[in-house]
Symmetry: D2
Subunit: 351 residues, 4 copies
Amino acid sequence: MSNGKIKIGVLGASGYTGADLVRLAVPHPNMEISILTANTHAGKKVAEVFPHLGHVDLPDMTKVEDADWGDVDAIFCGLPHGTTQDITRSLVETHGDVKVIDMSADFRLRNMDTYQEWYGIKHRAPGLQGSAVYGLTEFYRDDIRGANLVACPGCYPTAVLMALLPVVSAGLVDPADLIIDAKSGVSGAGRAAKEATLFCETGEGMSPYAIGKHRHAPEIEQEISKAAGNDIVVNFTPHLIPMSRGELCTCYVRLEGKATASDLRAALAERYAGEPFVRVLNEGVLPATQHVRGSNFVLIGVFEDRVSGRAIIISTLDNLVKGSAGQAVQNFNLIFGLDETTGLGQMPLFP
Amino acid sequence: MSNGKIKIGVLGASGYTGADLVRLAVPHPNMEISILTANTHAGKKVAEVFPHLGHVDLPDMTKVEDADWGDVDAIFCGLPHGTTQDITRSLVETHGDVKVIDMSADFRLRNMDTYQEWYGIKHRAPGLQGSAVYGLTEFYRDDIRGANLVACPGCYPTAVLMALLPVVSAGLVDPADLIIDAKSGVSGAGRAAKEATLFCETGEGMSPYAIGKHRHAPEIEQEISKAAGNDIVVNFTPHLIPMSRGELCTCYVRLEGKATASDLRAALAERYAGEPFVRVLNEGVLPATQHVRGSNFVLIGVFEDRVSGRAIIISTLDNLVKGSAGQAVQNFNLIFGLDETTGLGQMPLFP
Amino acid sequence: MSNGKIKIGVLGASGYTGADLVRLAVPHPNMEISILTANTHAGKKVAEVFPHLGHVDLPDMTKVEDADWGDVDAIFCGLPHGTTQDITRSLVETHGDVKVIDMSADFRLRNMDTYQEWYGIKHRAPGLQGSAVYGLTEFYRDDIRGANLVACPGCYPTAVLMALLPVVSAGLVDPADLIIDAKSGVSGAGRAAKEATLFCETGEGMSPYAIGKHRHAPEIEQEISKAAGNDIVVNFTPHLIPMSRGELCTCYVRLEGKATASDLRAALAERYAGEPFVRVLNEGVLPATQHVRGSNFVLIGVFEDRVSGRAIIISTLDNLVKGSAGQAVQNFNLIFGLDETTGLGQMPLFP
Amino acid sequence: MSNGKIKIGVLGASGYTGADLVRLAVPHPNMEISILTANTHAGKKVAEVFPHLGHVDLPDMTKVEDADWGDVDAIFCGLPHGTTQDITRSLVETHGDVKVIDMSADFRLRNMDTYQEWYGIKHRAPGLQGSAVYGLTEFYRDDIRGANLVACPGCYPTAVLMALLPVVSAGLVDPADLIIDAKSGVSGAGRAAKEATLFCETGEGMSPYAIGKHRHAPEIEQEISKAAGNDIVVNFTPHLIPMSRGELCTCYVRLEGKATASDLRAALAERYAGEPFVRVLNEGVLPATQHVRGSNFVLIGVFEDRVSGRAIIISTLDNLVKGSAGQAVQNFNLIFGLDETTGLGQMPLFP
């Protein structure tokens, strides 16, 4: 921390999440980027991989194994699941002080069997799993402050849990009847070249995908179960929308007792009062992904359902910011004792 | 019907529905376009209003009141709701033989109180309402054949009812627990200049709209109630997607008794066997709006829900074709004793 | 030709050009699809590779080497350049009667050195090159009628040459001062999975590419040189636009002598009078890719330049139709003595 | 200037330019927003007109005539042309100290006849015209510092002049042979509800517009003429691209003497060395609007033309930032003696 800056490394810096982390890190007053890894692009300048970052003086991309971790204070991991475990374990063993803020899926699930079931591999760092804190900032703030390893939630779980946890915890809705119709922009699928995410495949059209099989489902269920106090299974149906960024989750809930949509709105407003990045919308205001683009905000709206005894909660965020890199920075700020909003003042970009 | 062609008039020809009707009518072997009305564009050539139709020899746009109905055999109405009633009543009074295929909302609802509640005006042609046939072709085929006035369903009701009517009728799902998350392209909002549908407002983002207030809800409920045998209220939540055409409805259903997703798929496949425009997809095949663009097809997929006792039915269509002009032509074919698929062989345009 | 149909094979059927060829071939009254090859997708059903074609009864995809050419009358080649030469040579040697309509670049260039310079490989069927006819239908109609091998032009050359050949031939513009600013939708880059054509890379933005290096430049120059009577080099600068289909070329020309923009328009209108797929627009009418989508039309507009002695010619077409599969079908019709417009009546799809 | 902040008013705050000014002004450390005017939305909260700004505490929208100019230090004008003149004249007469930073077209043209010819109205504040400084920051920096009225350039002129002025001034290109093919996102057309800019009209397609008639042409010519030392007419042909933000101008130039593309690149690089918002790209690097989105950057690339004696200069910027609100803030910083980059550190948003 010479010059007062905290030295960071970004692993998997050539993906969209990595790029957005860099976008947030460069102007962050307390961060200095020391290492950028990107195995397939190792040896390249950032400007070659991301021309929009060409004006910034940054270290070249390197291989993970070639990185010098010597003076790094914190690592942001944006690697594919599986990979993160080995690197994190190795880092923890050799550089015990380094803080790991993981944006991958590797340390989100408490139950190793569930991990193996959904990710198809046996977890290779189960010992670390216990010390990992689930990085949903607004719900695990105190734990995150003292953590060495933070497992940032997936983009969908962030949007869904922000909408549902308070009303489940308060007993206002039936946790056994949660239907989540989720919509995401294409950046959620990553930067790997795949036919399915070519412009011509996803443009001017939309479709559901991974119905009943999306890996964010067990993550949502883990936290909802915890809030509900018993094992919960949810419907979670994602759709791919022809936009680059943005996510919107329409949650259909059954009201408990005499609860109303207004009660849900009031409970959410109370729960998030004072939260810098959460806005519970007034009655009648419609959330839109356009209103959070590029920012760390989550918007939540509550609506009456014409079907008696039901309501609709809708949340929206930018999947690359509050859904990933932004929340990671928020957690970094907590860990290093900074104001939680440091470097996260980006205004939504509209249009 | 000189030259063996059926003379048609298109009212409201300067909107997207009108344009698509013209797109289908021009190459239709049995149609001849005699009248095109478009009040704000009266006096203009079609090529001025729709340059993509500039290669076709068509009558100029005229005002409704200036049209010569003398030798017209059929009228396609694409006017805003409210307007259609007066014109239809007047036409029926003065030209009793003319067939009216209405693509507006004016004659869809059987209950005049419901109409007034949702459309905010008292119906001005209640006498005709009784003789109007609901133009959901695959369900009212016989009635349509003999009808003088066909009220073509809205785009959303077409997609939703095709997905749900067979399984509700068969008692396979609980009609009291239907949740319909609907997504539509922007052309559904029409061609009138509105800030909300500007490119910059709707591009690169998405949002819900008209939650619990969309006028297609009572239409869906009317037909579901009929199939269920009692009054049904449904959840119907539409979303605006950044694409011009296409509609996809994700219907969350509760299974009755021991019914399974496979049972639903089988029931739908049996119900639609032989239907030229309906394809029930094999297990695991995902419906996408890209796969129906520009065509009269409806695709329906059925999926297991991780939540026990539930399933998901997803339907998709092109809102301007099977959701409007295409189904209108399908009904026209029935009325005039033609093969139902005449002029509707457009292949889906992908990409 | 049992059942009166001409049996065709489509090579490279899993790409966008191949798919559009199938879209046009299925409803074509004189075609029957016998073979579909797609090496990486060999063994798959068409519906797996192209769900939007799932309603059509088609042969499964096969490897080129496994295809039975026995009773095939015509081959449409949509293979990558290089590949086509060997297959075509082999076909001609073993099935002399089969007609080859090549949509690749392999037989477009007369000069084998130019081919080698731009495509980086030595041509492997130079003997066939001499018998290949350049398939720009409106300019080589008579030659195409008798051809065994038609080399359909690239999409850009089609748009550019339709705009420029008549005015260069007539001596109305200076062929040494042609600046062509070209814009294309993303489907022009093909269906291979590449980072550069992912939705997130090309959406909500645009850029030039292959400046001074695009392989369509020598093709344009070959034909312009022929029309001009001497060797011509042109500026050709393509740009990638966030749309799937469509191409628009803005050609900046220097007028010869006292020629005016009106003279150019008149010359083009006269040249294309009676052409079924070419529309020279009236003064002041703006061409747009939206007006040709999905159809075989080319629109051409001529505009005055504020710079004295200059004018602007703008042409637009659908790169997959008149720019590829549509023109291929047009040439097929000529070869087999059919009306040139057979099966090409698709109306532009707008919106 | 209590609390050390400079009080600003934004006129025409309900348009896209106004919104982007607010996006930049809110986090600007030296600005405080005192007045927001928007005549048709007068009385509304900002959150109603722009939900993405709903988290900021801002004054309600008011009518221009109801605004209290008493303690305002600077005005940003985003009004339609024509309107600005009266308001500016009135403000200058009554509040002589207020600085006006005009983003409209009213004070850009030196020649009042040219203004009348292109804007169709007689200028109503010709006296002020003389004192207005053309706000192309990198070229009029010293004049701007002392100005009371800055006329910020149009978005196209900014992009074009940044690319061309240095090479015209240096005599490297022929000013009489400048061809500018310009491409813009739809936000350039403003937020007024117009059929032509609906999503369905502009999506999935593109077209030229205002050929030879765009009002940015005389502005470009004014400055190019000044640099060239004689009256210059340029070709300027704009195109509408299906994206919200971004602008890219492809300038085709004829080289003077033995100048090469490398000479142009070197001259531009030298001219802009040290400029915080201008990046002259290395040989072979392609500019893209995606690389400047949301930021105040201009990227300029120079490319060889295959046509001997010619070259291509391409510039790109975000039309709402460097093309409008960003440059306005840059000029504000100069006027008030702040560091020119204050509040303009937004990183490009990609994807």
